[in-house]
């Protein structure tokens, strides 16, 4: 079927809110979305050409220009860099005879960088035509490219040694490993999914369920930690023709991969959580927003949903409750970190650019298509089921006073056992280091790049208290002085990302720069603060690293970080955190690099600045009107 026909009789009912699905299907069959496609679509869906274009241009995995037959998206997260990404990248460039960001001349290969794909425990990893390839080496790359040149399909490219558990499922067939290292109340398989739904649900009123969740003090596990019960109550209270439950599986924070494991091994639990949440809030529409990077799970998850429908866990009168109708649809993203923000996610679900909305109104008041919408993290929903099954009282036996229960941690970086650890809240950083088998730890990044960096030596002599007043990270990079700090909402809150760096890592040049690149790449561009400031801060840091830094530069960075707080969403507000938290906790690294006696150094280098021009004019600048005391390097 041609693309044109597909648009004409597409399966999405010419619904402009399904633009993402339509674009995904065109992108998948044709490899790119042409101008003609966009024009056809705009007419068909009754929206303007610009609306189609703005959506296409927003997402990383959409292309308006032809890409290769095989498109290789190589993860550029910090753990990939630490595990030999540079060599793998070089191998790809050599074998495919093109450079990153381009398509090879024969149109066979497209090489692209991509932000963290949620495989931090098995880097370097790449997505090749929707299939995940982990633990890449230059040797493996050579063979992969040979096989691709021989015309093998991505399925044939894989060895038959699939990952553990459901990764070997016929509908997944992936070499991704789960690496579950520590199980506690969520991950223990002591519960047969849907037991609560089939046996107990009808004994509860929706109000009872909300009360039980509120009693358990469950807080959102995505990172922000909003009380789940309260969110459900707000959603329930708002009048609307429909209400919507969204499961946020757009796990984009570099270093997290817990949702991937939950969806692979505990999909039933997550879906049951959605059904229960729907019951509690009176919702009838269920959406799971699956990030594009996890699209290899789509077929498997859809099979799970089909099974659920067959067993009447979805559909009409679920769980024997008259009038409780609910169904779930899975929506794929197309590559955008900011879509993890709930209002951006809703925009994306409606087929638009994933730009965060102004709040209020909050999604619980006016969300997906204007209906009251409750957005919950994958882990939150899975936890909710366990709480309801065992009771809030039981749940209160875990964790600390202000943070009850457990948290899934995605631990990666310099440690012997990267993977998923389910720990009780209140676990100290020192315990995490011990359990993951990390040695010579220099720093720990808690909560991903938007979080904080913690390390061995603290700035000590610096009084940061004034600065700490306005600096509210969603996590942090920690120095050793603070390794006895505990994971909890009151001390070290985290969405689950823990990245460990040992003594050999260059924290500023390697880690912080990588994190800043991430924010520069992923900013949606809506607020000028977030669009510009990370670039300006990165340039300033570059200047310091190049040896041109002065003390004022450090203060500039601290002050400029405040400007970012004016951004609309969490991405912008935390985009300066890699720099800020490294200044707070690793001040000595900055102090070492600045010129302490120099009052001013702009870092301007005429040689560097005229390099490009010199290539064309083949001469040096002539200065003979007047001489300055200092001779230029050129003269």
């Amino acid at each position: 079927m041609t693309i044109k026909q597909e648009i004409n009789q597409n399966a999405f009912g010419n619904d402009k809110n399904r633009l993402m699905d339509i674009l995904l299907s065109i992108n998948e069959t044709q490899g790119y979305i042409s101008r003609k496609n966009m024009l056809d679509l705009s007419q068909k869906l009754g929206i303007s050409m610009a609306q189609v274009q703005e959506t296409v241009s927003f997402y990383h995995f959409f292309s308006s220009k032809p890409r290769g037959k095989y498109n290789i998206y190589l993860d550029n997260s910090i753990t990939a860099v630490m595990n030999g990404r540079a060599e793998v990248k070089e191998a790809f460039e050599q074998c495919c005879e093109t450079s990153f960001g381009n398509v090879s001349r024969d149109g066979l290969f497209g090489l692209f960088n991509t932000s963290c794909i949620g495989m931090n425990d098995q880097e370097p990893a790449a997505i090749i035509n929707n299939k995940i390839f982990t633990h890449l080496t230059p040797y493996r790359v050579k063979h992969l490219v040979e096989d691709m040149r021989a015309g093998k399909t991505t399925d044939e490219l894989m060895y038959e040694n699939f990952g553990d558990g459901n990764n070997a499922d016929p509908d997944v067939k992936s070499m991704v490993s789960n690496h579950i290292r520590k199980k506690s109340i969520i991950l223990k398989k002591d519960y047969i999914p849907f037991t609560f739904l089939t046996t107990k649900l009808k004994e509860y009123t929706p109000g009872d369920i909300v009360a039980e969740i509120e009693a358990s003090n469950l807080r959102g596990r995505g990172g922000a930690g909003f009380p789940t019960g309260m969110k459900w109550r707000f959603g329930r209270r708002t009048e609307g023709k429909h209400r919507v439950i969204i499961c946020n599986a757009d796990e984009g924070e570099p270093g997290t991969f817990k949702d991937r494991v939950l969806l692979t091994e505990y999909a039933d639990l997550v879906f049951e959580g959605m059904v229960v949440a729907a019951y509690a809030t009176g919702s009838d529409i269920g959406l799971l927003y699956l990030r594009y990077e996890y699209r290899y799970l789509l077929k498997f998850l859809n099979r799970k949903l089909t099974e659920m429908r067959k067993n009447h866990f979805l559909g009409q009168n679920i769980g024997g409750v008259q009038g409780f109708n609910f169904d779930i649809r899975i929506q794929s993203g197309a590559g955008a970190y900011v879509c993890g923000e709930e209002s951006a996610l809703i925009e994306s679900l409606e087929g638009k650019r994933g730009e965060p909305r102004d709040k209020p109104p909050f999604p619980v008041e006016k969300g997906y298509l204007g209906y009251p919408t409750i957005v919950n993290n994958v882990e939150t929903l899975a936890t909710a089921v366990k709480i309801l099954h065992h009771g809030a009282e039981w749940y209160a036996g875990f964790g600390t006073k202000d943070s009850l229960g457990t948290k899934l941690l995605s631990i990666s970086g310099d440690c012997r056992f990267p993977g998923i650890y389910e720990v009780e809240w209140g676990t100290t950083i020192r315990e995490i280091i011990a359990m993951s088998g990390a040695e010579n730890v220099q720093a720990i990044q808690v909560g991903g790049p938007s979080g904080m960096m913690i390390g061995m030596k603290d700035a000590g002599n610096m009084d940061n208290s004034e600065l700490m007043k306005w600096y509210k990270p969603s996590g942090m990079m920690i120095a050793e002085k603070f390794f006895d700090r505990k994971l909890s909402y009151s001390d070290l809150p985290t969405g689950g990302s823990i990245i460990i760096f040992n003594n050999h890592r260059d924290l500023l040049g390697e880690v912080v720069m990588n994190f800043m690149d991430f924010f520069i790449e992923e900013s949606c561009g809506s607020c000028s603060t977030c669009r510009n400031m990370p670039i300006i801060m990165k340039n300033k840091l570059r200047k310091i690293l190049d040896g041109h830094g002065i003390r004022k530069d450090i203060y500039d960075l601290l002050n400029w970080g405040k400007v970012l707080k004016a951004s609309r969403c969490g991405l912008g507000q935390t985009a300066g955190n890699p720099v800020l938290s490294s200044i707070f906790h690793f001040r000595h690294l900055y102090e070492q690099r600045i010129q302490s006696l120099t009052q001013f150094d702009s870092g301007f280098n005429l040689d560097e600045a005229t390099k490009e021009t010199k290539k064309y004019v083949h001469r040096k600048p002539v200065f003979h009107h007047f001489k300055t005391s200092e001779t230029w390097k050129d003269q």
Binding site: L606, T613, V617, R619, F623, T628
Partner: protein
């Protein structure tokens, strides 16, 4: 009171800021009581003849000569003032930032709609010509700048107030009207 020495220059600017200096109108007579001009397009002195108190810079740095003059000013002036949008942020010329230099030159000398009679497709390359920088730099990214006067151009009142305050070493009066731009 000794007269303060003032120098001015226009780098990658349009001379609009200098025009704005002249907009102080009859106050220029008061000014001349207070200051003496050294190197400046106003009196056409090419080289500094003495140490200067206040250097006023219009325009950012778009080529090698701009950076050299700016440095020349920094070395000879006690106080440097960035005057106007271009000196402070690069201004209109900075719109070329992000466009490769070759493309800019082609547009200016070969392909642009206003190019006429360049049949030999010459891009000027005399050795006297300064070299373009990779982008247009605001002045403070090249040398230390002490004061910034915003505006495109800054209002004559703002320039007058600022100069008067600097010369008499008094705090500057900056009423809202002279720094609002809508």
């Amino acid at each position: 009171m000794n007269k303060k020495i003032i120098a001015t220059t226009s780098l990658a600017g349009c001379f609009g800021c200098h025009m704005s200096i002249l907009d102080i109108d009859e106050r220029i007579l008061d000014l001349i009581e207070l200051v003496e001009f050294d190197k400046s397009p106003i009196d056409d002195i090419k080289k500094f003849t003495q140490p200067v108190d206040i250097g006023i810079i219009e325009g950012g740095c778009c080529n090698s000569e701009n950076t050299q003059i700016l440095k020349y000013f920094r070395e000879n002036c006690k106080i440097l003032v960035s005057l106007g949008e271009c000196a402070i942020m690069g201004g209109l010329p900075a719109m070329r930032n992000g466009i490769p230099i070759q493309e800019c030159l082609n547009e200016a000398y070969l392909d642009g709609p206003t190019v006429q009679e360049n049949h030999e497709h010459i891009i000027p390359n005399d050795e006297e010509l300064p070299l373009l920088l990779d982008k247009v730099y605001p002045c403070h990214e090249v040398v230390k700048i002490d004061y910034f006067l915003p505006g495109c151009p800054p209002r004559a009142d703002l320039i007058w107030n600022a100069l008067y305050a600097l010369i008499t070493e008094n705090p500057m009066e900056m009423p809202y009207e002279v720094v609002k731009f809508d």
